[in-house]
């Protein structure tokens, strides 16, 4: 009985100790479009849908004319002040091809829009991943390793384009091998199995 009590105490200690410090304050839902070209995966088109409360904050700060739409100038300001720093966070898009991590240093075609009170960022990750006749496993995980932002994957908005020359199938898992934030969080991960048609 004493042992049970001791274990119980230890459990409580660990539980409390694990609560760490960082808070999540922002929520993002991510759409991912995967584009193939003749030789493999050409790019990912990513859309971040912010939660309404943070969207309001972004609109307050960047929709200078309060017309519920971002102009080209306003988008440039967003990119400069509230997006470009994500290069230090791999743009929240973590890709592994054949077990190797792919670092994202730059993205293109950034844009921002307001849709029904929600701010949506969109951008392209131009990373060519060759796909041969051998089966290739590619993992795509949207997450913020600092856990300041909870990044969800919109499972119904994972789309594939130009796949005529390729076979692909995928599943979405909680990837324990990429546990982050003191190993406490398992990111939602697209596990894509793909190969070129014979």
């Amino acid at each position: 009985m004493k042992y049970i009590k001791t274990v119980y105490i230890l459990f409580i200690v660990l539980l409390l100790a694990k609560t760490g410090y960082a808070h999540l304050h922002i929520f993002i839902h991510t759409d991912i479009d995967i584009y193939y070209n003749a030789t493999g995966i050409e790019k990912l088109h990513v859309q971040f849908h912010f939660d309404e409360i943070f969207s309001e904050d972004l609109m307050k700060n960047f929709d200078a004319d309060k017309n519920k739409s971002f102009s080209t100038k306003e988008i440039a300001e967003i990119k400069s002040k509230a997006f470009s720093n994500l290069k230090n966070y791999n743009y929240f898009i973590h890709i592994r091809a054949g077990g190797e991590k792919i670092t994202i240093k730059d993205v293109s075609n950034f844009s921002a829009r307001i849709d029904d009170g929600i701010v949506i960022y969109s951008f392209d990750v131009q990373k060519h991943i060759p796909v041969s006749r051998e089966n290739t496993t590619i993992k795509i995980s949207p997450y913020d390793h600092s856990y300041y932002i909870a990044v969800y994957l919109n499972k119904q908005n994972i789309r594939f384009h130009n796949t005529d020359s390729f076979i692909h199938n995928y599943s979405v898992i909680e990837d324990k091998s990429q546990a982050y934030y003191y190993e406490q969080i398992y990111p939602e991960t697209i596990v894509l199995q793909t190969r070129r048609k014979s």
């Binding site: 004493k2 009590k5 105490i9 459990f11 409580i12 200690v13 539980l15 409390l16 100790a17 609560t19 760490g20 410090y21 960082a22 808070h23 999540l24 304050h25 922002i26 929520f27 939660d51 309404e52 409360i53 943070f54 309001e56 904050d57 972004l58 307050k60 700060n61 002040k81 509230a82 997006f83 720093n85 290069k87 230090n88 966070y89 791999n90 929240f92 973590h94 054949g98 077990g99 190797e100 991590k101 009170g117 089966n135 496993t137 913020d144 390793h145 600092s146 300041y148 909870a150 969800y152 898992i173 990837d175 324990k176 091998s177 990429q178 982050y180 190993e183 406490q184 969080i185 596990v191």
Partner: protein, 318 residues
Amino acid sequence: MNRFGTILFSLAGLLLCTTIALAQNPLFSNPEPTDSTELAKEKPQPEKENLRDEQKEPSGYSFSVWNRFIQKNTDIQLRIRQKFAHIVKEYKTENNSGSIAFIFFLTFLYGIFHSLGPGHGKVFIFSYILTEKPQPLKAIGMSYIFASIHALSGLIVSLAIIFTLNTYSSSETIIADSSTLISRFSFGLITIVGIYLLYTHLRNRPHQYSPEKQKPARMSRLIYSIGLVPCPATIITVTFLSSMGLVTIGIISVLFIILGMGITISAISIISLFSKKLVLRSVSHESKTYTLIYTIFSVSGAVLLILFGTWFFWGTFY
């Protein structure tokens, strides 16, 4: 405030000054590139092996339960925030007074679930209870005083944001700045308090240890001082409501956040208190085992403060 407290605050002030320029929000801040996954870089493995690993259950069952808990809490907070934003906008357009009660109810729930997550002084309260021996009512009272100070300091920051910042300076940036400061301030202080407690208990070691004869500790004051760091959840709630033109409702909603946050922190206090009593009750008050267990609790509380304080303090730089 005794001399020790003064020194402590001086050190904390120093920490604040040296970290004031740093921010935390990934969208706005500019930290050194770090990635925990890179730090623990996996060795390339055959693809099939990797896939097999993903299907495995995690090695520790409790860890999996904890992961589920964190994820569930995140989902609940998301749903509360979505509902909150929806109701606030509905109130703005339809001016339905019934919505106000719902807004307060949601801020109350947000207080409960947000404080279930990391931070909010739970480790402090827990360590204090492990080290000292407060009555249940005092533990609850401490929890509510802590929650009140934490949320009200958040309210002060919110009002400063609302009434002074008109140019680009997102409230999220302020929150991010505050978060880094909060983290370093708190963890620096945790470590120092831990060292102080450990020193106190080790100094008493040669004497016959009698918990009942201990001088009433004044560490609770230090715990309250940790609450001075502003609550980001309060800042988010109040600045959002103010951006909707509902400053007064925002101020009142802080009371409901305090109520909710207090419930969570009190629950942690009471669980800790009764867990400790449960173990101590199993041995005679007069026995050496009782003294030994009590000493272990006291010392381990202090050691926990030092270890986690140092760990998390270090973590804020990476």
